[in-house]
């Protein structure tokens, strides 16, 4: 089986978010970048499937040269080769178009349910539509037997068990697999694994960024004595107006 795992290169969850250039560009100064946490689950499941089913795992990222350490980390975790589409991932439709260009011929196309920077949660659906393949998200469990997949897909308040034939696209989330931490051997081996850089396909992007905004600063917390919870109820009713 040929598995493609699409990974995003995103600011660590604890990063402070700020913008530069008149609020049109993310300020990456001092920010630590990671493999998107949902993508990391997808990668971990792909490596498990690779070990169980004699598969190959290719990782793909749409990003500029600075994302290569993230791809190398994915190779260290156990992917066989990597593709970097040399473009800034500014829009879901753009990213999906680039992935679709390279995803033909794979049996399983995995990624996270969403990236934690733009949070659109739609690249899997768009890639599926572009390739004429079914797409599923958020997938919490994925078992493959032969050419069919059995999945647990989260729905509001529960989950569904879904069966479908390969090839397919899945947006993954926990508890599909445990995150994998690269070992020294993996890190050494990753240096020589193939990482191919390709130029992006020309795509007309239908959505244009005008500016970024930050939410207004939060007011100070109002502390209430545990012996006076009636005051809390009053404030929620009359001040916050949420009851």
């Amino acid at each position: 089986m040929k598995i493609l795992v699409c990974i995003s290169h995103v600011p660590d969850t604890t990063s402070k978010i700020s913008f530069v250039d008149n609020n049109t560009k993310f300020d990456g100064t001092g920010v630590q970048y990671i493999i998107g946490p949902y993508d990391d689950y997808a990668l971990a499941r792909a490596i498990e499937l690779k070990e169980a089913t004699q598969s190959t795992v290719t990782v793909l990222n749409v990003g500029l040269a600075e994302t290569e350490p993230t791809l190398r980390k994915a190779l260290a975790i156990g992917a066989d080769d990597a593709i970097r589409v040399n473009a800034e991932p500014t829009d879901s439709f753009f990213v999906a178009s680039q992935i679709a260009e390279h995803a033909k011929g794979f049996d399983l196309i995995l990624m996270g349910r969403e990236s934690i920077d733009f949070n659109s949660g739609v690249v899997h659906g768009m890639v599926g539509e572009m390739l004429g393949l079914p797409s599923f998200s958020p997938v919490m469990k994925l078992e493959i037997s032969g050419t069919s997949a059995k999945m647990a897909v989260e729905i509001e308040g529960g989950k569904e068990t879904v069966e479908a034939s390969l090839p397919l696209v899945a947006g993954c989330q926990e508890p599909i697999a445990e995150w994998k931490i690269p070992n020294m051997r993996g890190i050494m081996g990753a240096r020589t694994k193939p990482l191919k850089v390709v130029e992006p396909k020309a795509v007309e992007v239908p959505v244009k960024l005008q500016r970024f905004e930050l939410p207004p600063p939060k007011g100070a917390v109002k502390m209430i004595s545990p012996d006076n919870v009636g005051e809390l109820v009053r404030l929620l009713k009359n001040e916050a107006k949420v009851l």
Binding site: E154, K159, A164, L209, L235
Partner: protein, 317 residues
């Protein structure tokens, strides 16, 4: 402007988030049509007229009782062509968002999800989206004539404008490939208020000391008509089911009121709740980081504060 709204249903009832989507469409202004799938009572659909839908297309095909992404995509894309739709509006959900993504590609529409407020038409058609897991917004201009918008909860105020919608039966051309995926079983909590749709959420963390102590928290939720949530460690330890896990890698909620009990407030948890309108934190550790993100805080033991809070709420009714 012709606006089509996906009126997502659950067990034959239009979801509250779908009603918000109808209100959003009504507030944009234009000709609002809704579309519903599977078995739903006519009265339930006519009632969408109260929120501004003039017409409801009902694709009653029983195969659509299951939320199959590809089949829903085909029905909505065909309805957009038939209705000459300019803007499709959906509420964010496990089904709605993936369907929206596919419809946008199929119909060549511009796409934006996590939309938090009404569009501005002052220069083009711009919408504001929540990004960086609630820590920032982006304002984007949508160029093509046709647009697909997926709303975050509370993007529009629910307002009744009166009226009854005309319900028309709608049949779309569906092929076998649309039903290629088989949903073989569904497990769903019944009778509970669903977390992503709740206006009030009551969440518990490790401070609740064990699954057997959830009684007071559930009672508080009942008094408030709230959904129950939990922190990641609580779901990881199996104290509560995964679909209650609120946070970065779980459900992101945006209720009017979020009450956190015995949750320290790790940044991963805050990422799931920072779009809440009002946050109350109850924790016995005065240094819990969650207090910094809260509107109101009580330093105290959950098992002392909860009964008092329940009594105060009952007394206030």
């Amino acid at each position: 402007m012709n606006i089509l709204v996906f009126a997502e249903t659950s067990d034959g009832k239009v979801k509250s988030t779908a009603i918000e989507a109808v209100c959003y469409a009504q507030a944009i202004g234009g000709n609002v049509t809704a579309i519903a799938m599977g078995t739903v009572g006519a009265a339930e659909l006519e009632a969408l007229g109260k929120y501004g839908a003039k017409k409801v297309l009902h694709a009653a095909d029983a195969r659509l009782n299951q939320g199959i992404t590809l089949a829903y995509t085909s029905v909505i894309a065909q309805a957009m062509a038939d209705e000459n739709t300019d803007v499709l509006v959906l509420a964010n959900s496990a089904l709605g968002t993936p369907v929206a993504a596919r419809v946008a590609v199929r119909t060549g529409a511009a796409f934006a999800s996590n939309v938090v407020e009404l569009p501005s038409a002052s220069s083009g058609f711009t919408v504001k989206r929540s990004i960086y897991t609630g820590k920032a917004f982006s304002v984007v201009d949508m160029k093509p004539a046709r647009k697909v918008l997926v709303l975050k909860k509370n993007a529009a105020e629910v307002k009744e404008v009166g009226g009854t919608a005309k319900v028309e039966s709608y049949s779309a051309k569906l092929n076998d490939a649309d039903f290629g995926a088989k949903i073989t079983s569904t497990e769903k909590a019944t009778g509970d208020i669903l977390l992503p749709e709740a206006n009030i959420v009551v969440s518990g963390g490790r401070g609740m000391k064990g699954p057997e102590h959830w009684g007071p928290l559930e009672e508080l939720a009942k008094v408030l008509h709230a959904a129950t949530g939990c922190s990641k460690p609580v779901s990881d330890m199996g104290w509560r089911p995964h679909h209650e896990h609120v946070g970065q890698t779980g459900i992101k909620v945006a209720p009017q009121l979020y009450i956190a009990i015995g949750i320290s407030g790790a940044i991963q948890h805050l990422a799931g709740v920072n779009s809440s309108k009002c946050i109350v934190v109850i924790n016995k550790d005065a240094d819990a980081p969650f207090f910094k993100a809260a509107d109101y805080g009580i330093v105290g033991d959950a098992f002392d504060v909860l009964p008092k809070l329940i009594a105060a709420l009952k007394g206030a009714k």
